[in-house]
Symmetry: C2
Subunit: 300 residues, 2 copies
């Protein structure tokens, strides 16, 4: 199901990403370290749509770039996404025993090992992008710029900043502006960075890079709104409550802040903005347009 | 006391580092994020010798480089060291309520915030090194090489790898080889990387970079042996036990593995190796030679 959102070209990206991801986890070399590398691999093998790396590869292709040069950067983005899920699941955070139907990393390997595996994955993402062996044929300027885009998106002013608003919003009601800042950081920043990095590696101009960033932002926010709507609908169905009631949910969502109807129209507007942004990329962006609609209409 | 190990030149490095470190924590810009930036600042303000950044600046100077270009990289190394202490102190790791006489970050800000502040600091270190604004006048090649040296040293095959051996060695006795691997990763990797990065930013040749790495490795291991000896002596004094007994200590140390006498002669040999390595750098390395002896003779 999860990869039926992709066309044939994107499925090829996905295949290459799945094969490469595990190769980018370094080989164990010392005694007593096996669990570290096992837990790093476990965290990255957890699957999902691989949306961020597929977008990175596709934007590189759309801009006329060589997707082989984009691959290490695509894997780096997915590895950062994976580390964030490991740390998000920890007892002091969401305390989630399950991730995508399997035991979370801290259940499988213990809390300390999950913490360290997350740290190692975040670090590993930068190692991969900076390693001369992984950027052959790519200009040093493009490599350092792409790595900087990701660093900006993953940190205090991006993903981690969003996680912090998420954490603090458990204790208090938040308004739409705060919710938007939360999701721009927690979900959209990395998606947006992936789109921009793909253009950067292809050597695209500033206008395309800015447009890709804006597309990613809209797509990321739309992705989250649809997630919130699906969560709300499934919870309501399970509990036999009317759709739209969410009193059992402590975390702020688009549905809890806007109501179900307004959340849906918000998602439609985000989708339209995202599709509009793609015009800069011409016919080559046909697949990205389809993907945007499919992500909006998806049922998980 | 802690900065009396430095000569006047190194004290100047230290002053500049102390001033700059806080400036490299980004400004808070959104609501509900104050605690993140406060905890990041708190973790970096915790003091200590600032050994890693001082070494980085000094190796840059010794190789004839401009220490202003080295400053962002020096702060990045110290920020990574700071994040590692925040994560090390967490309940699932060492569960330390105190760090350098102050409440640990998770005591001051809560466990989730400390986790996220650590993540943000690790990420921030790379942001600083990759930011074009922080590498003016430095070649892109030198910047990316220095950042790669740090990424290598901080991750699964460096510092985090050492933390993992440390964690696993709590449950079992380890031999000298394993202890050396532990400390090469946990303590020496970052010190060694700092020395090498300083040379790299100064544009030094491969021989000097390799020698600086080897010096840092020996110094880092010596530093840890002396720490273990001081811990053992102070614990023995406090408990009124003969020096050298360490039955109350669960973690492997150089004293527990080698015995006190052999640990001391190990430290002497490491110091001699480190000082010998400095010959490549000629008279300019006089301050580094003194520092090496002072670190060996220090009482904390």
């Amino acid at each position: 199901m999860s990869n039926s959102i992709y066309n044939d070209t994107m499925k090829q990206h996905l295949d290459i990403i799945e094969t490469s991801l595990q190769n980018y986890i370094p080989e164990r070399n010392l005694t007593l370290q096996d669990e570290l590398f096992n837990s790093m691999e476990y965290a990255c093998a957890a699957g999902g749509k691989r949306l961020r790396p597929v977008l990175l590869m596709e934007f590189c292709r759309v801009c006329g770039g060589d997707t082989r040069k984009a691959l290490p950067f695509a894997c780096a983005v997915e590895i950062i996404h994976s580390y964030s899920l490991v740390h998000d699941d920890l007892p002091c955070m969401d305390n989630s025993p399950l991730r995508r139907g399997r035991p979370s990393a801290h259940i499988a390997f213990g809390e300390a090992m999950a913490l360290l595996a997350g740290d190692a994955l975040l670090n590993r993402a930068f190692e991969i992008m900076l390693d001369p062996a992984n950027r052959q044929g790519l200009s040093t300027e493009s490599a350092i710029e792409a790595a900087f885009i990701l660093a900006n998106a993953a940190g205090a002013r991006g993903m981690v900043g969003g996680q912090v608003i998420d954490l603090k919003s458990e204790c208090q009601a938040i308004d739409l502006d705060t919710l938007e800042n939360l999701q721009k950081g927690k979900t959209a920043a990395l998606i947006s960075a992936a789109c921009q990095m793909g253009c950067c590696i292809a050597g695209a101009d500033e206008k395309k890079m800015d447009t890709a960033r804006e597309f990613g932002l809209q797509l990321g926010l739309c992705f989250q709104i649809v997630d919130d709507i699906l969560d709300n609908t499934s919870t309501s169905e399970q509990l036999g409550k009317p759709s739209g009631s969410d009193t059992e949910n402590h975390k702020a969502t688009y549905v809890s802040v806007l109501g179900l109807k307004e959340a849906k129209s918000f998602a439609i507007r985000r989708t339209e903005h995202a599709v509009l942004a793609l015009e800069v990329f011409g016919n080559q962006a046909e697949g990205l347009r389809d993907l945007t609609y499919k992500l909006f209409k998806r049922n998980r």
